[in-house]
């Protein structure tokens, strides 16, 4: 009964989407500018329409992009960040940093007078110091940290890049400087410390929660140093942040930032038109043309380091056979996908790395040819095909604006070579969880980079450690491949690193644990009154500088 109802709902939803789509297009072109809805009390706050609920309020414990977009840059700061233009490191909570000659010791000098959030549930008595930094990082790898085992000690990003194996200890030099001592020098450590995941939490607050015996609340009622502080979260409805008055960087953050959780793409666009949203993430490609015709709405776009892929569960037969994977990859009409899903707003993948990454080298990608695919399939011993599931993510992300549609295209392509496919969909956070448990045969998913370092495309996605933490959707653990990644990280010589990454890219296309499909372009629709909502080529959305300028 439930299955039937879901079908029915799906039809309803489809219908709704279609009508909305028609309606938005029609009115955008026919009526031009809609008269201003009555604006009351609205200049002090901004509504951002987001596509999914946040799964946690601590970026350390998740890699879900939709969550990071909401929490990371709004509630927290990291020690350092990466300049989106020059790709150089910039001081944030650390004012300067020194690397020892052997690369195994990094000393950070901390900024003074950084205030933590003061909220209904916590009032800080001191500013940020070395204890907070040590607490935040030691939680990730130190089993004696009282919070290490809260949330099942699952720190997917850090574990997948092996940071928990890298740091020997963190030493407090004085109140405002800390020294990271490493087991080995690793070229990507600084860029990992600069990601949205490596945030600084309040040690004082952690101890308060521990003394109350309420450690589980630490990650859901957050305290950080960012421009906004947590106020309220109502599942499926909204996340409300207030301005952090003592923010160390600037004082012009808006009084209130509200995330309107709207999972449906077309509804988000419609809300843009009715001015219920000031900014919308991931407007669907079909609506871009219509939206950009409006005077009061601006569509921003930016190149983004990301990749959308089709991953196979390589531990499950028949996908453990590389011939099967090749057959599947050769049966897909990539051009059709680029047209129908990306509407020309994406780059067809030539490797797992996007062309804008410095380590990118063009690969001999699988091409569309059902005959070749059939041949591979008979070689693998499945001349009559088989049945499989294809999991399509339910939300729109940069790397895949419409996974459902892509899945339908792939389904019809696979039918040509005799493979029957069932498309599986779940609510986004459930979806991620189940993929982590490797319940799927194959999945359409993607990865948006957190740093410009190419390692960010490999270790978090395809390393063996990523398999154990449930972040490797291909469930693929290849020691040779891992060795290449380690070699690339062990050197600071850019030429050598490029060489290793080139080999890693080649190996991926030969082994095909996943088929890279496309690199998407990041879009954002905003009301013309909104300023300071810049898009960055990597990492989560930052609304620290956003403001409303009423003309």
């Amino acid at each position: 009964m439930v299955a039937k109802m879901t079908d029915l709902l799906h039809i309803c939803q489809k219908y709704k989407e279609a009508v909305f789509a028609a309606a938005t297009t029609m009115f955008v072109s026919a009526c031009g500018d809609v008269p201003d809805a009555k604006q009351t009390n609205k200049t002090q706050g901004i509504v951002y329409c987001a596509e999914a609920n946040p799964v946690s309020f601590n970026p350390q414990v998740t890699t879900t992009g939709s969550t990071i977009d909401i929490i990371a840059n709004q509630l927290y700061n990291s020690l350092i960040s990466i300049d989106p233009v020059t790709a150089e490191f910039k001081p944030e909570l650390a004012t300067e940093w020194l690397i020892s000659d052997d690369g195994k010791k990094i000393t950070f000098k901390l900024r003074k007078d950084v205030q933590f959030h003061s909220t209904d549930y916590f009032t800080p008595t001191r500013t940020m110091n070395a204890d907070d930094v040590i607490f935040s990082f030691s939680r990730l790898f130190d089993v004696y940290n009282p919070y290490h085992f809260v949330q099942d000690a699952n720190y997917p990003y850090f574990q997948s890049v092996g940071m928990d194996q890298l740091i020997r200890k963190i030493v407090k030099v004085d109140d405002y400087s800390v020294r990271f001592e490493l087991f080995s020098a690793e070229s990507s450590l600084l860029s990992n410390i600069a990601t949205d995941f490596a945030v600084i939490l309040s040690e004082e607050y952690a101890m308060l929660r521990a003394s109350q015996d309420k450690k589980h609340l630490f990650d859901s009622l957050p305290i950080g140093t960012g421009p906004y502080k947590y106020k309220h979260f109502l599942r499926d409805n909204l996340v409300r942040f207030h301005k952090h008055d003592g923010y160390w960087k600037h004082d012009y953050a808006v009084d209130q930032l509200v995330y309107d959780i709207t999972t449906n793409n077309t509804t988000r666009i419609a809300k843009m038109l009715t001015k219920e949203c000031d900014i919308t993430s991931h407007p669907s490609a079909t609506q871009l043309e219509a939206l950009s015709q409006r005077q009061d709405i601006v569509v921003d776009q930016a190149v983004n380091l990301n990749v959308g892929y089709w991953a196979f569960n390589t531990e499950k037969p028949p996908f453990d056979n590389v011939l099967v994977r090749k057959a599947l990859a050769h049966s897909i009409d990539f051009d059709k996908i680029m047209q129908a899903v990306f509407y020309g707003n994406g780059i067809a993948a030539q490797s797992i790395l996007p062309p804008s990454s410095w380590a990118f080298t063009e690969q001999a990608m699988p091409y569309y040819n059902p005959k070749v695919a059939k041949q591979y399939l008979s070689e693998a011993g499945y001349p009559d095909g088989f049945e499989m599931t294809l999991w399509a993510m339910p939300v729109s992300r940069i790397y895949n604006p419409n996974a459902r549609k892509m899945a339908e295209l792939i389904q019809s392509d696979l039918r040509q070579i005799g493979i029957r496919t069932r498309i599986v969909e779940y609510e986004w956070n459930t979806f991620i969880e189940r993929i982590g448990q490797h319940e799927h045969d194959s999945v359409l998913l993607g990865w948006a980079a957190d740093t410009p370092d190419p390692d960010n495309f490999f270790s978090p996605l395809l390393s063996c450690t990523a398999t154990f933490t449930g972040k490797n959707p291909a469930n693929w653990c290849n020691p040779e491949f891992d060795l290449l990644l380690t070699q690339a990280l062990d050197t600071n010589d850019l030429k050598m690193r490029k060489f290793y990454y080139q080999q890693a890219q080649e190996m991926l296309i030969e082994e095909l644990p996943l088929v890279p499909i496309a690199h998407g372009v990041r879009f954002q629709a905003r009301s013309a009154e909104i300023a300071g909502a810049e898009l960055r080529p990597f990492g989560g959305v930052s609304l620290a500088n956003v403001r409303k300028e009423v003309k």
Binding site: K16, F20, A23, A37, D260, T274, T430
Partner: protein, 343 residues
């Protein structure tokens, strides 16, 4: 009257038994692990699952399990939602008021419009007001609610930009939940934001209420009309007319009171239809009510939430029907003499 009340209550008990038995059996009918369906806890450790097995009496027979299930229901322990990890009871407590609020306003609108419209059509039987209103009600009766909702959104939200298309209130207005009835909350808080929040909430209410009120309005109009015509045929009305009373006197003083009796019963019966329609309306207008949550839960295969939602909604419908029935029998002594209760 006491006798009648007893009959009703015993019927209520039976209904509740059937309902809880059905909900309980869902645990077995849903796919997946029995313990997970009961508790909403996934991937439990060994010691945890032992504790849960004891709590849910998994090792005992079905009757004991059912007994434990009912006693948990009474204690307010409705299980834990799979997708949010919060208790189902807390979800229901938060969301049901939003649905009830919407249904209540829709019903008020339906009564305020439907009954007078019905009276007018019967007073001008087979004249032009009758024809116009009857045509309109037929139209309103036949329009599917989701289509009407989309149509109104297209015209009034996207086209003219007069109304917002989602939620209960502009999100920048911060109204702490006291009763979870939004207008009531704003009133209790002393109209914050200089009354603007209240206006904004009304603004948000307008379209969903109109959409939801459409069906019951047409039903009430038609029902009032038929019932009035029926009464107007009766001999005592003819007598009154023969005595020379004018039309206003006949209708307002003599016909209306009798004609409204079946209509009152009908209002109560509308509640079940209303709740069903409210679910569709909530989904389209992103109204944060129990219907939208239930439908999301079905989509997410969140079995404990589906169970809890079904139970809450159906229990509410049963109680509403019962209440309508009681009011009806208070007003109409004849109906108390039925020898058997019925719903």
């Amino acid at each position: 009257m006491l006798d009648y009340l007893f009959r009703r209550l015993s019927l209520l008990l039976f209904m509740l038994f059937a309902l809880t038995a059905f909900t309980f059996s869902l645990n077995y009918l849903f796919p997946g692990d029995l313990l997970t369906n009961f508790s909403g806890q996934v991937n439990t450790s060994f010691s945890q699952s032992q504790m849960l097995e004891e709590k849910y009496h998994i090792d005992d027979n079905v009757l004991v399990q059912y007994g434990a299930f009912v006693s948990r229901l009474f204690q307010g322990d409705w299980g834990v939602s799979l997708s949010s990890g919060q208790t189902v009871a807390s979800h229901v407590a938060l969301l049901l008021p939003a649905t009830l609020e919407l249904c209540f306003y829709a019903l008020v609108v339906a009564i305020l419009l439907g009954i007078p419209a019905g009276i007018i059509t019967s007073a001008y039987h087979k004249k032009w007001p009758d024809k116009v209103i009857s045509t309109l009600t037929l139209l309103g009766f036949s329009i599917p609610v989701f289509w009407l909702a989309l149509l109104l959104i297209m015209v009034f939200c996207l086209g003219f930009g007069w109304f917002p298309m989602s939620g209960r209130i502009g999100l920048l207005y911060e109204i702490p939940a006291v009763t979870n009835f939004i207008l009531l909350d704003i009133w209790l808080l002393g109209f914050p934001y200089g009354g603007q929040a209240f206006l904004d909430a009304l603004h948000h209410l307008a379209l969903p209420t109109v959409v939801l009120a459409m069906y019951p309005t047409t039903v009430l109009t038609r029902f009032t009309r038929d019932s009035m015509l029926n009464v107007l045929e009766q001999n005592y009305i003819k007598t009154a007319r023969a005595k020379g009373l004018n039309r206003r006197q006949i209708i307002l003083d003599h016909a209306l009171r009798n004609a409204l009796l079946p209509v009152i019963k009908q209002i109560g019966l509308q509640f079940s239809t209303l709740i069903t329609l409210a679910m569709v309306t909530e989904v389209i207008f992103s109204w944060p009510g129990v219907g939208r949550w239930l439908i999301d839960s079905i989509y997410q295969r969140d079995y404990p939430a589906i169970q809890g939602g079904l139970l809450a909604v159906s229990m509410f419908v049963i109680f509403a029907n019962m209440l309508a029935d009681l009011t009806h029998s208070l007003l109409d002594p004849v109906s108390r003499n039925q020898s058997h209760g019925k719903v």
